[in-house]
């Protein structure tokens, strides 16, 4: 698991393996592959933990388990003294934290009865660690109540294959409009959550950013899944929401912006005059003009020329509000 740098406490890992192996339902010959899959551990970790567990005893040479690792199984001898440790141990603070973070991260997006399930799991996990010091604070950004309401509606639409009526803000056009969609998939792209849907207004598959949805309501109308809707790209690599055939602009910035531009994954070139130039993909010219305005004078379009003129025009309109 290269994307999971936080390892459980060693004690917690060993105790989890112990109770797993002490469960009589697994028989005396436990497949190694099952152990590795279920506990998310490597063969080396199993071997290390097993060599320790074989030495755990409760006095007078009374051991709790003896396990022997073969090529593809663990041959288990359960000692009567192990009964007390057959039940799983309490959640360690790190396990409890992982559960709570998971609930925060995806709880309200799960295809179940969203908030009720989310809240009840969180309450029960917290209750189970009452009295345990949960050191430090780790938190993952959670959706606001309004967004949670919207996701709950979308989830209902996904589960029941029901058309949803959206009130959606399109930044490039600075327009709040209504559209009916057939929802297919919720996905995240690290920066935000998105809905992949068939839009009935444009009669095509479209991607909607969840935080730009002002409201969502079920219409009560069911839809048949369309064969033309292709979710494979979204499922395979949800991260990529960059358009497939963008146009490109070259934009000059002061060097102090270089790091944040690179963090956005943009190609940045350092110029001799101390500035940097970034290649920025865009589909909609109005979107790029807005982006340039956002930098309040620090970003200057080098090319294409027509976008430079649009920046001037848009700037004049906005500046007129500040003349009085």
């Amino acid at each position: 698991m290269p994307d999971a740098p936080i390892h459980p406490e060693r004690t917690a890992r060993a105790l989890s393996l112990l109770s797993y192996l002490l469960a009589e339902e697994r028989g005396d010959s436990v497949p190694l592959a099952s152990v590795m899959r279920d506990l998310g551990v490597t063969r080396k970790q199993v071997a290390e933990d097993l060599s320790l567990l074989n030495l755990v005893n409760h006095g007078g040479g009374t051991y709790v388990i003896y396990g022997e690792l073969t090529d593809d199984t663990i041959e288990v001898t359960r000692e009567p003294a192990g009964d007390a440790m057959a039940s799983p141990a309490r959640l360690s603070p790190l396990m409890a934290r992982a559960l709570l973070l998971a609930v925060d991260l995806v709880g309200d997006k799960l295809p179940v009865d969203g908030r009720r399930t989310l809240t009840s799991i969180r309450d029960k996990v917290k209750k189970s660690i009452e009295g345990t010091d949960l050191p430090g604070l780790v938190e993952i950004e959670t959706a606001s109540a309004e967004v949670t309401d919207i996701i709950e509606v979308l989830n209902h639409g996904l589960r029941e294959r029901m058309v949803v009526d959206l009130e959606y803000y399109t930044p490039a056009r600075e327009e709040l409009g209504r559209r009916q969609v057939e929802p297919y998939l919720l996905f995240d792209s690290n920066d935000a959550w998105y809905l992949e849907a068939y839009c009935r207004r444009v009669e095509a598959q479209r991607t909607f950013r969840i935080d730009l949805i002002r409201s969502a309501a079920l219409t009560g109308e069911h839809f048949e899944p369309r064969a033309s809707v292709d979710l494979s790209a979204r499922r395979a690599r949800a991260l990529s929401v960059v358009p497939q055939h963008p146009r490109w602009a070259v934009v000059r910035f002061p060097v102090t912006r270089a790091r944040s531009l690179e963090e956005q994954g943009l190609e940045v070139t350092r110029m001799e005059d101390g500035t940097v130039e970034a290649r920025i993909p865009y589909l909609d010219e109005r979107w790029l003009v807005r982006e340039i305005l956002r930098y309040a004078g620090e970003a200057v379009i080098v090319s294409p020329e027509n976008l430079r003129r649009q920046v001037v025009e848009e700037t004049r309109v906005i500046r007129s509000s500040y003349e009085s």
Partner: protein
């Protein structure tokens, strides 16, 4: 004889601690330290003072993973210890089938995409008695897809080290871009918490040199995160610390407040501002001044960084106007004029 004296020290300690747990769970009544000293694997052969120190450390380590060994009332028993079953055994949490199903689905979605996926899997193994994964039919119905946590992947050891430091109360040192030149400088910090916001990881805590709460973006760290001392614990977080104290605030509020600004936002966008910045005060615009005005909301916000505030207002395009203070309106005008000239 299964035991070898060549065993690494940490392994030795773990065997001793698990043997202590096993021993205490098997006792029907509290047991004296002498009894523990003589009977538990690993303590025999220690001097009384070494045993006392090790036993104290072992109790402390076990408590950190949620297993609390309790002392009996000295008036009744003398010095004696016991491990109630409820202090060891995981309660069922009374999770319903629906809740367990939701957690199993969450695990599947998060596997390989979540910094805490390993402890999450172990938690579910224990909660489900070894059956953490959902049914395959369940998986086919999932209409949710997550991106990998790219930052956790690249941060790796730094994130793990900070999580460890937070759990153990350890002060850390790291290099971080500082000052107007963004030169990497060593920062010494008591980390109180981690946050993942907008796909980025942040650490918050007390910066020693500035003696104030600061927030650091982990992707900007240069080099490794190191413990500042070899002590077991360096600090205890202040009581009542709230993540909001070091959570990323609106960029224009970072630093010392220098004034209060008022921004008018048209209502077809105001809902989004209110949702993104719930801490910014909002009130309805008194009403259209003329027929060209759209319904709008007034937002009032303290600001520390005028440039960041202007950046935000301009990002809202024609839908927003900074109404005051006058010096900020002048600044907006100047910036727009400069932008216009640069593109003319």
């Amino acid at each position: 004889m299964r035991y070898s004296k060549l065993m690494p020290k940490d392994d030795d300690k773990l065997i001793r601690q698990l043997s202590l747990v096993s021993f205490l769970l098997a006792q029907r009544h509290p047991v004296t330290p002498r009894h523990i000293h003589e009977r538990v694997e690993g303590y025999a052969g220690m001097s009384d003072s070494t045993f006392a120190r090790r036993f104290y450390d072992d109790r402390s380590d076990l408590e950190q993973v949620g297993i609390a060994i309790e002392g009996a009332d000295p008036e009744d028993e003398g010095e004696a210890y016991f491990l109630p079953e409820e202090n060891y055994r995981l309660s069922s949490l009374d999770l319903t089938a629906e809740e367990l199903r939701a957690l199993a689905v969450a695990l599947t979605l998060l596997e390989g995409r979540f910094a805490y996926a390993r402890p999450l899997r172990l938690a579910l193994v224990n909660l489900t008695h070894g059956h953490p994964d959902p049914e395959s039919a369940e998986l086919e119905r999932i209409a949710v897809s997550l991106a990998p946590d790219e930052e956790a992947r690249s941060l790796g050891p730094a994130l793990a080290q900070l999580d460890n430091a937070i759990a153990r109360g350890k002060t850390v040192r790291f290099l971080y871009p500082t000052g107007p030149d963004l030169e990497p400088q060593e920062r010494v910090v008591d980390p109180y918490g981690l946050s993942r916001i907008g796909g980025h990881w942040y650490a918050g805590g007390r910066d020693h040199e500035r003696d104030a709460l600061r927030t650091f973006r982990l992707s900007r760290f240069e080099g490794p995160v190191r413990f500042a001392t070899k002590r077991a614990r360096d600090f205890s977080p202040p009581m009542g610390i709230d993540p909001a104290d070091f959570r990323a605030r609106p960029p224009w509020q970072l630093g010392e407040t220098v004034g209060t600004a008022t921004v008018r936002v048209e209502d077809d966008l105001a809902w989004r501002v209110a949702r993104a910045y719930p801490g910014v005060a909002a009130e309805s615009w008194p009403g259209p001044l003329d027929l060209t005005d759209s319904p709008a909301t007034l937002f009032t916000t303290p600001y520390a960084d005028a440039d960041a505030l202007i950046t935000w207002v301009l990002s809202l395009g024609r839908k927003a106007e900074l109404l005051g203070p006058p010096e900020l309106r002048s600044l907006v005008r100047e910036k727009l004029l400069a932008l216009e000239r640069a593109h003319a």
